[in-house]
Amino acid sequence: MAEHDITLTVNGTEHELEVESRTLLVHALRDELGYTGTNVGCETSTCGACTVHLDGDAVKSCTLLAVQADGATVDTVEGLADHGEFHPIQTGFQEEHGLQCGYCTPGMMMTATDLLEENPDPSREEIREGLEGNLCRCTGYQNIVNAVENAAETMGSGAVADGGSVEELAGGDACASDPNAGAETTDRCEVRWPDEGESE
């Protein structure tokens, strides 16, 4: 049985672990490291419940070997909120009733933040297209689309009103002031917020 020593930086914390060749990233996250917020809904890479960010991009963590992610930065739903302050996508989901059972929600939010990073002001159609890799069986998607619009609005308007200060928008200055903040933390902030230049 082939074992590999790998390093994963999950939500800013570095973990060293031993995995089999065949261990899927999602199982490493859930079973080995205890990040159970990332869910598993299928084995055909269809449902997107397992979506996390790998080096800043939304990927299906059930379709990656843990060993492939060696050395990478992984961001999961547990890393979205910042010291109890919700990320706008989380607020959007709560305010718009964008979830019912909540099982698809972590993956849905991780895809949505990836979408908003690329397209800070998507149309409803673009949101639906952006989320086609995530299945939800409860909401009929309408309130999920509303939730993403809500988040886009918060992020967009905040950026404009405040002149685009990422730190202030994040509900604090965690990114700027955290003495331990390494590259990962910065990455996370970038993932959450459109660049100043793009926010207009």
């Binding site: 049985m1 082939a2 590999h4 089999e20 060749s21 065949r22 899927l24 598993v40 084995e43 055909t44 890479s45 269809t46 997107g48 979506t51 790998l54 991009d57 939304a58 990927v59 299906k60 059930c62 379709t63 990656l64 070997l65 060993v67 492939q68 895809t111 990836d114 979408l115 952006g130 989320l131 086609e132 890799g133 995530n134």
Partner: protein, 296 residues
């Protein structure tokens, strides 16, 4: 959900990948690129290779570059990287049009152009664009590189001209040189793979079609050029009537008995969709030509 056991090797370079392929020639060995076809097959128990050789991290296989009139896409270039590249849109519009509709956001962040073409799923989105772009696929093996025209690369279902110890290293696409590239796709509602996907590359001279190449995915066991459509449209004025007439020839050279016929669509319906989506791909091209003419 649980792949069987295997040995994992990460190749650092193309030559290391070839060495690994040769070293494991007696075992069931698969190359791991984006993994979005292979890993699902392994998780559902359909595939259980003994050895995986991960080539996704080989730097020399990644990236888009332009050399003269040729756009070169490294085999391990992710779909999203192609879409982020302006040169790719400019020189290979048929390819980028198809990639925009390929898989979903997460798949595009991880899947690779080379993985797609090597896998040669009959329902892949990229063989069509490779054919209409007159792409050359460059394969590397123990004896070095060789180039295979797209027309000769696809053998059939999951079968290509890549030999046992070879790997696809890049795709070279002659610049579209201002031609308009489009892709019209009828996805399976479950898998998102095309029941039919039609790729078109259309160049015009004034109102007339100076050159047109059309190819379809998902219809036969590999991507196919639709030459009767091309012949019917070449020299015609690019408008609804000419498009409708040309699209009606879409299935003419195809043997319906050999068409893909499965739960998602029967062969007869695929033939119908082929006509409809050929029309849509060409209409889209026509609209883009008009739009760019208006912009000029």
């Amino acid at each position: 959900m649980f792949p069987d056991e295997f040995d994992y090797h990460e190749a650092e370079s193309v030559s290391e990948a070839v060495d690994l392929l040769e070293a494991h020639a007696m075992e069931e060995t698969e190359l791991l690129a984006g993994g979005h076809s292979l890993l699902p097959a392994m998780k559902t128990g359909l595939s259980s290779p003994d050895v995986l050789i991960d080539i996704s991290g080989v730097d020399e296989l990644r990236g888009v570059s332009v050399d003269g009139d040729t756009l070169s896409v490294g085999a391990m270039t992710r779909y999203s990287e192609v879409l982020d590249d302006d040169a790719a849109h400019e020189h290979a519009p048929a390819l980028t049009a198809a990639i925009e509709q390929l898989g979903d956001r997460q798949v595009r962040n991880r899947g690779t152009v080379g993985g797609n073409l090597s896998h040669a799923d009959p329902a892949s989105d990229l063989p069509g664009p490779a054919l209409v772009s007159d792409a050359t696929l460059v394969v590397h093996g123990p004896d070095g590189e060789r180039s295979v025209p797209a027309e000769e690369f696809f053998f059939g279902m999951y079968a290509t001209d890549i030999g046992p110890s070879e790997l696809l290293v890049r795709v070279e696409l002659p610049s579209a040189d201002g031609a308009v590239g489009t892709y019209a796709k009828k996805p399976s509602p479950a898998s998102g793979y095309p029941m039919v996907g039609v790729s078109a590359l259309v160049a015009t001279d004034g109102d007339a079609v100076s050159s047109v190449r059309v190819a379809a995915n998902g219809v036969m066991d590999h991507g196919v050029r639709l030459e009767p459509v091309e012949d019917a449209l070449t020299g015609e004025t690019l408008g609804d009537d000419a498009i409708e007439a040309a699209a009606s020839y879409a299935a003419d050279d195809l043997d319906e008995a050999m068409m893909m016929d499965d739960l998602q669509a029967s062969a007869a319906f695929r033939a119908q969709l082929l006509e409809v989506y050929t029309k849509r791909a060409l209409q889209d091209a026509s609209e883009r030509v008009s739009a760019s003419a208006a912009a000029d």
